[in-house]
């Protein structure tokens, strides 16, 4: 693996084969992988990257202004 592929494998807990498939499909940075439409990822990779994609969906909206009492 290249240094970049090694970092992707550590970051997303993926095998060398998984990383190679991602990079070959053009997903060669964590930014691109995290922003990817799961349907456009190589077969089987969407399930393995669920942690990050679920995170994106679940990020709570922030309330601006008063946050209530101080109790």
């Amino acid at each position: 693996m290249t240094p970049n592929e090694r970092k992707i494998s550590i970051k997303f807990r993926l095998t060398a084969a998984d990383v190679a498939a991602l990079v070959a499909a053009g997903f060669d940075t964590p930014r691109k992988i995290k922003d990817a439409d799961p349907e456009k990822l190589p077969p089987g990779l969407a399930d393995k990257l669920t942690r990050w994609h679920e995170k994106k969906k679940d990020a709570p909206a922030k309330v601006t202004g008063s946050a209530g009492s101080d109790t």
Partner: protein
């Protein structure tokens, strides 16, 4: 000449004769440091003898004029150190040694493991300004770099950054495992910006009057992960620790004295995971903590302190 013994975590020998040429006690005893064969290169533009070209830079009485020249002389992963002499260019200093370091220094990936150390007794005695608008004082593309004892300030420039560190997808950018300690960041757009850089240590720094973000995960290529950010203070920063999307960071014992009515302006880890945020001191109420920080899904938020007590729940 003293032995090269380690003095706690500074790496410099204690209780030994000092080098001459910087007009004050530097705490540095010889021309070698740390690892066997490592070299010290001296930089002091206030020394009238300072010259770059043809100068080996190891005699403190005839220092180099620029940090750029010193970096060029450093060797990859040999433990080389650049020691920069003090100046008093700070806005209300006595202005006897007025020449600040004015450089947009780039540390290339071929210069891993070097240290840049200010020889002043505190960072305000070594002001470093960028070479131009919208530039960083130091851009780090190398691994294992240590920067300490410097004031980064841009009184004459706009859009400036103190330190930018980046790791790229090619072998060109390996900015990672950086240590920044004992530095002061003032009058900048950004203090420290991080792109896909891991394992950095950012501690014992002060951030004051930062118009956009003191510590920012730029996330152009990837997020800044596994970062330790501790014992820093923040005053008059629009955003303090802005690390949305970052994972596995340890953020503790920072002091944030900012606007309690802001949104995500204290610590922002929105979209991140497995972070640990503990024992930080916030100048906001428990209710404001819910809005100045974000958020509960990014990891564990434990035992943080607000003006009216410790929040029982993490911020949403």
């Amino acid at each position: 000449m003293g032995m090269n013994v380690f003095d706690r975590n500074t790496g410099f020998a204690a209780e030994t004769p000092q080098v001459v040429g910087f007009d004050r006690n530097t705490g540095i005893d010889s021309m070698t440091y740390g690892a066997p064969g490592a070299k010290i290169f001296y930089v002091d533009p206030n020394n009238s003898q300072a010259v770059d070209f043809g100068n080996l830079g190891q005699d403190p009485t005839v220092p180099l004029a620029t940090a750029t020249a010193a970096v060029a002389l450093c060797r990859d992963h040999r433990g080389d150190t650049i020691v920069i002499g003090p100046n008093d260019a700070w806005q209300y200093g006595p202005h006897n040694r007025t020449i600040a370091i004015v450089e947009s220094l780039v540390i290339p990936n071929t210069k891993g493991g070097i240290t840049i150390r200010g020889a002043a007794t505190n960072p305000m005695g070594l002001q470093w300004e960028p070479g131009d608008d919208s530039e960083a004082c130091i851009t780090v593309h190398a691994i294992d770099v240590l920067i300490e004892g410097v004031t980064f300030s841009a009184p004459n420039n706009t859009g400036a950054t103190g330190i930018h560190v980046e790791w790229g997808t090619t072998a060109v950018d390996f900015g990672e495992n950086l240590t920044v300690r004992g530095c002061f960041f003032n009058d900048l757009d950004y203090g420290i910006t991080l792109d896909y850089s891991w394992y950095d240590q950012i501690y014992n720094n002060s951030f004051d009057t930062i118009s956009i973000a003191a510590i920012l995960n730029t996330s152009v290529t990837g997020d800044a992960d596994y970062i330790a950010i501790h014992d820093n203070s923040f005053l008059s920063c629009a955003l303090c620790i802005s690390m949305p999307g970052s994972d596995e960071n340890f953020i503790y014992n920072n002091r944030i004295n900012e606007d309690g009515t802001g949104t995500n302006n204290f610590i922002d880890l929105t979209g991140g995971s497995t972070n640990l945020v503990t024992d930080n001191y916030f100048a906001c109420t428990i209710a404001q903590y819910d809005t100045t920080c974000s958020d509960a899904t990014s990891g564990a938020w434990l035992n943080n302190h607000c003006t009216n007590g410790n929040p029982a729940a993490p911020p949403t």
